[in-house]
Amino acid sequence: MTSDSKSHIEVRNLCFSRSGRSIFEDVSLSIEPGKITAIMGPSGTGKTTLLKLIGGQLRPDSGQVLVDDFNVHALNRKWLFHLRARMGMLFQSGALFTDMTVFENVAFPLRVHTDLDEPLIRDLVLLKLNAVGLRGAAELMPSELSGGMARRAALARAIALDPDILMYDEPFAGQDPIAMGVLIKLIRKLNQALGHTSIIVSHDINETLSIADFVYLISDGRVLAQGTPDELIKIEDPRVLQFLNGEADGPVPFHFPAPSLSAQLLGGSRDR
């Protein structure tokens, strides 16, 4: 794959709020082509929302998401679906279609977007499944797979069309150490072999830092820090340190905003 076909993603001054709560305030990111970019941050900072904004599933209040200079949210439905055919997304739950076998799940994007013959589709699907180590599970239904296997099958489906952009939503969440190791290896191998632009959204620090080329740390709707993994661990900002070291005490509060405990217990108010 030549460098020309690799996609560049630019997020400019993105603002997004949901139910009156601001999720992003003026977030700008640049995702380099062919690299693995990680977006990290505590739970609830809207990392998955960011992927949905890039994929055009949600609309921002203001700001732009440019994929190869196309404004994702200015495209009509038809062109948006064309663009999405060049994106692969690995959902947190795998999101395999439960009424199809693993084979049919992986074959689905090929059947929809290409006119390939059935024998060729079969070969391609088996190759993709082989890449994630699930060739033997081709005829199983998604309900018969373990969590780690389901995610790998979903990864095979996400790479079925050899997308230019691959987005991983919390790929390591809830995985046992072996499955996690397999996934890390797979993500790195796939990026090297196919050269697509990868975005990983995660809060698993060690795993993500071990494969990412560049990292954005997001907290409270803003970009808190950015840099290569080596640069990131040298940052002295207490909020960054708290996140990277997993400390309970620090500038990022443990408690959800509330009146003080003594005021609530002794203040006479019976409001819960």
Binding site: K52, G55, Q57, R77, F81, H82, L83, R84, A85, M87, G88, M89, F91, Q92, S93, A95, L96, F97, T98, F108, P109, V112, H113, R157
Partner: protein, 260 residues
Amino acid sequence: MIDKLQRLGKDVLGRIAATGRAGQMLVQSLVVPPAPKEMFPLLVKQLHFVGVLSLVIILVSGLFIGMVLGLQGYTILVDYGSEQAVGQMVALSLVRELAPVVTALLFAGRAGSAVTAEIGLMKATEQLASYEMIGVDPMRRIIAPRLWAGFISLPILTMIFAVVGIWGGSLVAVDWLGIYAGSFWANMQASVDFTTDVLNGVIKSLVFGFVVIWIAVFQGYDAVPTSEGISKATTRTVVYSSLAVLGLDFILTAMMFGEI
């Protein structure tokens, strides 16, 4: 007081917004260029799930309702010596009212709730989002086949219900209670009119089919993607569909038979 007004206003606005979203969903899924090659297999699968699998409950209910009508009709009419008119009574009640209404209510409970739960779970497990990200419009792939399957199958189920019901009525009235078969069928043939009775019944079932499946699909599509959200959506499908069917039945009956 202000609080209550505020809540009422919020509730009303929420319902208006939901109606808007339901209309938008309908247009987005149905007003599309036809793609028969792609749609046909999906439609057949849904016709089986929504229609064929509802057959047993429709057949059994139709049979029992017809039998009950035959029995009740006989016990009342025999007092006036006009038990020969049981056939007419059974056929008219079924074709005009009971077949469209009861079939729609059963359909809402059997197929509507299943469709809501299925689409709601697809949303909760990110399968709908997954279709979108693969570049396939879930409106065309998931929503449209289910809507069409509902429109098509409910009128057919209604006709089957009416036929089985009339047969059930004849079983009781003719075979059990001994009414002369000739007068049972002749009375029915003389009094049931194709346009006013049969066609109006079919029109009712078309309207009910449209409303019930629309509610079912929308409730699933609009469900809050949690276990509680899906359970509430499924309940809403059955409650809203039943109320809509009964309310619309009165309006349609008034329009069709009000002038008689």
